[in-house]
């Protein structure tokens, strides 16, 4: 559905996106993960045709996005900071979106009203709290019936109930209409629950791009103990190693069964597989990119 090839974008000589490739399948919920300054927001804005990329192409359903109203008419972008006109209320913003987006659906707008009970339609959007502004943005965006929705830190500022509510609406749209979602967030716990694909960005490059299933299948967390010293673990791709007494915890890259066999060859006293969160995958993947958590000592 969305495909980027060799995308380059720099700001005053600083490469924000550096020969980046990615692919978001139709109907996928694709999570963009990366440290601050990795290029997530730049990628989203480039995908939406706000930024013109210096090199490469971005296609949505085979169509170039930049300066293409047809492609952009099928997409909606919710930025991290919501903008509304100075004195506009939700109804006024609705009218504006209605005149801009060809597929704006009045029925959906009316239908969603009860999903956002706290929102007053006649209150100036600018006077609303950050969370309420986000809700209003979702309300309007979903009413446009987009085929692709791009979300930059979408639930930042929303309370837990409303987070769940918003994700439910989005996932329902994904299920019903095969809407494609490209979302960037630092809340990996949440992404883990909703995403089926993940892309790891670092320094403007796509470090890793996989479905969540295959990602979790290719990296695993093991706990084990040995009678004597810990062996050297040759032929095992260890991403992280920590120990507490004689108990060793290892994050290992590779298939579950393959890794098990390799470890069992060292005759551990016990061996156990622990659940690995997306956050841990992120931290250990980024550690390899010189982004490990550093310890800070004070005297």
């Amino acid at each position: 559905m969305i495909e980027g090839k060799e995308i380059c974008k720099s700001f005053d000589g600083f490469p924000a996106l550096d020969h980046l490739d990615f692919h978001v399948p139709k109907g996928a919920v694709y999570g963009l993960v990366g440290p601050n300054g990795a290029g997530k927001s730049t990628l989203l804005r480039s995908c939406m045709g706000i930024f013109k990329v210096d090199k490469g192409n971005i296609f949505v359903d085979g169509e170039e996005v930049f300066e293409n109203p047809h492609a952009k008419g099928r997409m909606v972008f919710i930025p991290d900071e919501i903008f509304s006109f100075r004195t506009a209320d939700i109804l006024e913003m609705k009218k504006y979106y209605q005149s801009i987006y060809p597929k704006f659906d009045e029925k959906i707008f009316e239908g969603l009203r009860e999903c956002f009970p706290e929102l007053s339609e006649k209150k100036h959007v600018r006077k609303m709290s950050k969370g309420m502004q986000k809700q209003a943005a979702f309300w309007l965006a979903i009413s446009c019936r987009p085929e692709v929705i791009l979300l930059d830190e979408p639930v930042d500022g929303l309370d837990p109930v409303m987070r769940r509510q918003v994700w439910n609406i989005l996932l329902e749209e994904v299920a019903k209409r095969e809407m494609t979602v490209l979302v960037s967030s630092h809340n990996l716990r949440e992404l883990e629950d909703v995403c089926d694909h993940v892309g790891f960005l670092s320094k403007g490059k796509m470090v890793l791009e996989k479905s969540l299933e295959s990602l979790q299948g290719s990296i695993s967390k093991w706990q084990m103990a040995f009678e004597g010293d810990c062996p050297g673990f040759e032929n095992i791709d260890i991403m992280h190693h920590s120990d507490l007494g004689r108990v060793h915890t290892l994050i290992i890259r590779g298939g579950l069964e393959t890794v098990r066999k390799k470890i069992e060859a060292y005759h551990p006293l016990f061996l156990d597989v622990l659940p690995l969160t997306l956050e841990e995958v992120f931290i250990y993947e980024m550690g390899g990119e010189d982004y490990a958590v550093k310890e800070f000592f004070t005297e």
Partner: protein
């Protein structure tokens, strides 16, 4: 949604129009208030003067539209300076060209609908005749043309930047650019060479560029070009607007160019620059250079004015070292200031590299040296080979004996060469004069060049200096009359002999300075002129200098004043087609004292023969 190729989006236009309603509402209100004031005085105006002067109406309306052109452009394109809004708007499924034209048209309507309504009200309110509508319409078109250019320029300014304040500053700077350039050129010229011409920029090499620059600045247009069209109740002024009004529509050319530039700036701009002082990286060095240069000039003028340096245009050369120092200092300060503005921080020294500290000073020094070496600013004495003939005017500030001083003409190549050298010497000497001293003479030189043009130069001189005495002596010795009066260059000579009493001759306006003078003559036949001239030459040969140019005449010793009126100009006009009318007949005055025996004898003889008539009745 608009179709793929649609240029306008109704939604965007409507949104701008409703969102920024206070702008056009205030503009309309302002215009109506002006209208009310004018209409309320209308009856008195018509009663007293018999007509309605549209200039009273035009200037405030023009001023308001210029102001609101800027405000409107800032409003409709202001979203480009706010990252949040810019990102949202550019995520919409609308092409950039549609976005530009929609915002542009919305702003255009916001500026001009109130003006149009105002004109309609004016036409309805005042008792105009059908034919007067034509004049009203012409005025409307003129205001439209000027405001159209102003609005387009404001759009360019806004789209060149990504910051509202920066856009407004650039608009104002651009509008004041013409005046800035004029002042800069005058200032540089005055500081680099001694002596200026008041009309330096009105002709010669600067005239065409200045006209073009004036056309490109709406403020200058409204100030200079807008015509006065009077709606006269009794007679028509058709001819007046025909030649006055239409040239002013040439401003539509830059207006259209501004529009094209605005469109391409919009299309090419990167949205991520929102909030930056400039939207295009190539504009930064230009902005820095212009800002640095003008801040340097402003700094010098400010310090010289505030510091009471006795600064004047004529004496700038005397404080040239101070000026150079201040210009370099001003450039450095200006460079730091513009770097702070562009980087939006006060702490720029950490960002600057070592060479950037000396860059502005070195740059300004190079500019000064380059301009001086090229002589581009001010060729104060042209090369002798370029000169056809020289006309020199000297006047005495403490006397009324000349209106504009006497004129001397030199056209032989050796005269021109000598005079040019003397002039250079004189200027060099005068240039060193301290600024506190004021000269008591004006030494005016017209260089009539071989290409038919004329260069006017004017120098304040101290008559006591040796160089000036040399020039005066030379002027006398070169025998001006020999070369201009007798050799055929000058035709239709008329000679007056005047005693300067309260009786005025037709060519002599001096009154009663010469108590000892004897006769007043007028309408002297040509033969008398020749006789008098020969007599003067004889006196000259014997060492008596009868010319006023030798030195100031001793009034009490003056017996006669011989006045030649020379119609050199008519002759010259045939040769140099564009000669100006105000340079018509030249006057040569000779003061005859007792030692000028040949001249006195000639005059007395002519009186006896009744060829010269004593108009005052004296003998």
């Amino acid at each position: 949604m608009q179709s793929k190729n649609s240029l306008l989006s109704k939604a965007l236009i409507k949104k701008d129009f409703t969102r920024f309603w206070p702008v056009w509402a205030v503009e309309l209100l302002g215009l109506l208030m002006i209208l009310t004031g004018i209409v309320s005085n209308l009856n008195y105006t018509i009663r007293d003067y018999g007509y309605v002067n549209l200039e009273d109406f035009m200037m405030p309306v023009g001023g308001i539209t210029i102001l609101f052109s800027l405000i409107t452009a800032v409003m409709v394109f202001g979203y480009l300076s706010d990252k949040k809004e810019a990102y949202l708007v550019h995520s919409f499924p609308v092409k950039r060209q549609t976005m530009f034209w929609s915002h542009y048209v919305a702003g255009f309507l916001m500026v001009f609908v109130p003006v149009f309504l105002c004109f309609v009200c004016y036409a309805v309110c005042i008792p105009v005749r059908a034919e007067d509508f034509l004049f009203l319409f012409v005025v409307f078109l003129q205001i439209f043309a000027g405001s159209f250019a102003a609005y387009n320029l404001a759009c360019v300014s806004m789209l060149l930047t990504a910051n509202k304040l920066s856009g407004m500053v650039i608009y104002l700077v651009f509008n004041g650019f013409v005046y800035g350039i004029i002042n800069a050129i005058n200032f540089m010229g005055e500081f680099m060479v001694y002596g200026t011409s008041n009309d330096l920029l009105s002709y010669e090499l600067y005239s065409l560029p200045m006209h073009i620059l004036t056309m490109f600045t709406p403020l200058a247009f409204f100030n200079v070009q807008i015509v006065t069209v009077e709606m006269v109740k009794k007679h028509t002024f058709a001819f007046q607007w025909a030649w006055q009004a239409f040239p002013s529509f040439f401003i539509l050319i830059p207006a259209v160019l501004f529009l094209v530039a605005a469109y391409y700036l919009y299309k090419k701009r990167a949205i991520e620059t929102a909030g930056d002082m400039l939207a295009f990286s190539w504009a930064k060095p230009v902005y820095k250079a212009v800002f640095t240069f003008f801040s340097s000039l402003l700094f010098v003028l400010f310090i010289l004015t505030v510091g009471n340096y006795g600064y004047s245009y004529q004496s700038a050369y005397a404080v040239r070292f101070q000026i150079v120092f201040l210009m370099i200092l001003g450039a450095t300060l200006g460079y730091f200031a513009v770097t702070m503005i562009l980087n939006k921080t006060f702490f720029i020294w950490k960002r600057l590299r070592w060479f950037q500290y000396v860059l502005p000073a070195a740059g300004m020094l190079l500019v000064l040296l380059g301009v001086k070496a090229a002589g581009a600013f001010y060729v104060y004495v042209p090369d002798a080979e370029q000169i056809d003939f020289i006309e020199i005017v000297q006047g005495y500030e403490d006397e009324n004996m000349y209106s504009g001083g006497g004129h001397l003409f030199f056209q032989k190549s050796e005269e021109i060469k000598t005079l040019e050298e003397l002039t250079r010497e004189c200027i060099k000497e005068q240039k060193e004069r301290s600024s506190g001293k004021y000269a008591d003479d004006i030494y005016q030189v017209y260089y009539h060049l071989k290409d038919g043009s004329r260069m006017d130069r004017s120098y304040e001189i101290d008559t006591k200096t040796d160089s000036v005495k040399k020039i005066r002596k030379y002027c006398y010795n070169a025998g001006i009359v020999t070369h201009s009066f007798m050799d055929g260059t000058v035709a239709n000579t008329q000679v007056d002999v005047s005693d300067g009493k309260s009786e005025f001759t037709k060519t002599w306006s001096h009154t009663s300075s010469y108590d000892d003078a004897k006769v007043t003559m007028n309408d002297v036949p040509d033969e008398c002129g020749s006789i008098l001239y020969e007599a003067l030459k004889q006196d000259e040969k014997e060492g008596h200098i009868p010319l006023s140019y030798a030195e100031k005449p001793d009034r009490k010793g003056t017996l006669y004043n011989v006045h030649f009126e020379i119609s050199l100009v008519e002759k010259s006009r045939e040769k140099y087609g564009e000669m100006e009318e105000e340079t018509e007949p030249r006057f040569l005055d000779f003061y005859v004292a007792e030692e000028h025996v040949h001249t006195i004898k000639a005059i007395e003889t002519l009186i006896k023969e009744k060829k010269l008539v004593n108009q005052a009745g004296l003998s």
